[in-house]
Symmetry: C2
Subunit: 382 residues, 2 copies
């Protein structure tokens, strides 16, 4: 049977089952977002509808045979099993993970670009539990002299491409070594073992930092004086000036995205819903990277002439710069009887008083990353 033979040769033949509500942006590798309206149902995004962003076929890692290698300049390589990792003190951090390209479709709409056409659902908020990376490194022979010789911590996943090379990323040494950095080797997501699509059995969770550095199916940790030389660290996940095109882009000239800027999105009503005159309730999320907390979400229905502060539905009581969870908000507006449509904008402000930029035109970049301009929706009135 030819189809069975080709299935067996297909690196994507052994993919996990996914929730039917997930909206795929690509099938191989599987990438899919949560419908933005569903994000509003709970503060912690359920595991089975949490957006999936994989760059390579999904590995199936046997927890009993799981090994994590740790190495660095001048140190003996260490190997930890899953039960070794579980012996460290267990920490739980609430953190958003957001794809670097979340909301890309809104940027694409002003000028075509390359990338998965995400709406506002390539983001989710969860609790992550596991060992602190700083505890594990300290116990694994990472001495002061190893640290002195290093500036970055590189990570590799168990997921490999057609050429046999793994997914890779790195973060600055200080974020990983500093106990205040809150970086985890997580084995639980929302209190359950991490699902296969999200990195079973160990996912690196780097709170406040772009999804691409939150390496799934973690296989290897390497302290180094250099960033990861992976495609995703060197030639992707970087921002550029709006006038840089594929003809003149030089990826070596721009820093790898780490902390993500402040964003917000209006999630309900969904874009295609008709509304009625009278009270209109908008709901959405807001978030900022780098451990910043969202301090305010402003809404306008008249192009910025007047702004109304949204009510916070829920936000964790954690202080910046350790506030990694998102903020759910709502606001009630009046839709006059004679209106045909209403255009609403949301803008979030974070604890460093950074604010979203107004337009996608002025932050446009050829990969459609960092797409954090005002969320603008036009609703038609029945």
């Amino acid at each position: 049977d030819q189809s069975k033979v080709s299935d067996a040769q297909d690196p994507f033949a052994n993919e996990p089952k996914r929730h039917p509500a997930l909206k795929p942006s690509s099938e191989k590798p599987f990438n899919a977002e949560t419908p933005p309206g569903m994000l509003m149902s709970s503060f912690y995004t359920p595991n089975d509808i949490f957006f999936v962003r994989s760059h390579l076929p999904t590995p199936e890692v046997n927890a009993n045979q799981y090994e994590l290698e740790i190495s660095g300049p001048g140190m003996a390589e260490g190997v930890l099993t899953l039960s070794d990792i579980k012996k460290f003190p267990k920490y739980t951090v609430t953190s958003v993970i957001q794809c670097g390209g979340n909301r890309r479709s809104e940027m694409n709409a002003v000028k075509a670009l390359k990338g998965l056409n995400w709406e506002a659902g390539a983001i989710g908020n969860a609790t992550w539990s596991g060992a602190k990376l700083s505890d594990v490194l300290q116990a694994s022979g990472v001495s002061e002299s190893v640290v002195q010789k290093s500036k970055h911590i590189q990570f590799e996943g168990y997921d490999v491409g057609a050429d046999g090379s793994p997914y890779g990323a790195s973060i600055p040494l200080e974020k990983g070594m500093n106990p205040f950095g809150d970086v985890l080797l997580a084995y639980e997501m929302n209190g359950e073992p991490i699902p296969r699509d999200h990195g079973f059995p160990i996912r690196l969770v780097v709170p406040g930092v772009v999804g691409a550095r939150n390496v799934k199916w973690l296989n290897r940790i390497i302290l180094s004086d250099r960033e990861s030389d992976s495609h995703w660290q060197q030639n992707d996940y970087k921002g550029f000036n709006p006038s840089i095109s594929w003809d003149d882009v030089d990826f070596s000239k721009s820093p790898a995205i780490q902390n993500m800027p402040v964003t917000s999105a209006i999630c309900t009503p969904e874009s295609n819903e008709l509304i009625t005159p009278g009270k209109l309730t908008l709901k959405g999320y807001a978030w900022s990277g780098g451990g910043n907390k969202v301090i305010r979400v402003d809404i306008t229905a008249d192009g910025g002439k007047t702004w109304k502060e949204a009510d916070i539905i829920k936000q964790e009581d954690v202080t910046e710069p350790h506030h990694y969870g998102w903020t759910l908000w709502k606001v009630e507006l009046d839709v006059p009887k004679d209106s045909e449509s209403v255009e609403v904008w949301s803008k979030a402000v974070d604890s460093s008083y950074n604010v979203q930029p107004e337009t996608f035109e002025n932050i446009w970049n050829l990969r459609g990353l960092l797409s954090n301009a005002y969320s603008k929706k036009i609703y038609h009135v029945k």
Copy 2:
């Protein structure tokens, strides 16, 4: 002599001499900015032309009699002299200090507000040398139990108002206690004893944080579970939604400004200069708070249709989140022969990929703080 009597009763009678180039925005207290063009002459802003922002009459503190009191919940009060402070390891940090209202005049231009009418010169970049606050606190009996009972570090200056109460401010405990926070008890500014206008003999330097928390003439440090109850912490230096007016403002609803958002300003040519067709060189500064580094400054001369990346004139080689100095930049543009005027905009992007907002209208607030929209200048052609 009546004038001498009233001088003697004037709390502002004993003010230091100031450099004639400083442009005052108020005389009593003395507040004055550096002409933005002069900021471009050096990476480190010279002490004598560094902007002055004082809220009260300038105290004259005798270095030999200087005392700094340290107290906290459940601890014996400590007192340090200047020579005690100089015995700690000496650190030097390059940091901008920026008034929370820098560039307010540009926000005021779109709608009137209350505050000193600063142009872009209420900012300066300097080296600050002194003891680390975290070292001093640790040596002064601030035990783990004192820390556990505290969330903030309050500061009081030797400057007092008509009612006898001092200038006061506070910062989050973590910023001050964390050795990575880089907070200094500074006794030198650009290698010289701190000038009287800038806090002689000890100024608290909180890198990345609004000027108002960088308490001059430091007299008292108080660990506490509460923020400073001073006017400047509670009822000023906070941001609000553009629709909040003096009739409905509630200062208790907004967090005190700490880290400052990303900003930039075009400094030369000065606003009133006529330019000639041909090459036009713009120079300016860019800066972001919270230890973020400026990674890019984009310039447009066609309302955002095309953006040119500015060249960095100078920036320190320090990694975020410890990059506190500013970035000086320049760019060369072509002014066509037949043009009557040219409108240029600058926007900075920082290492968390936060970007300046486009317009002052959408970030307007009744105190004119956080005035960090694009710097826009129109030059007329001769």
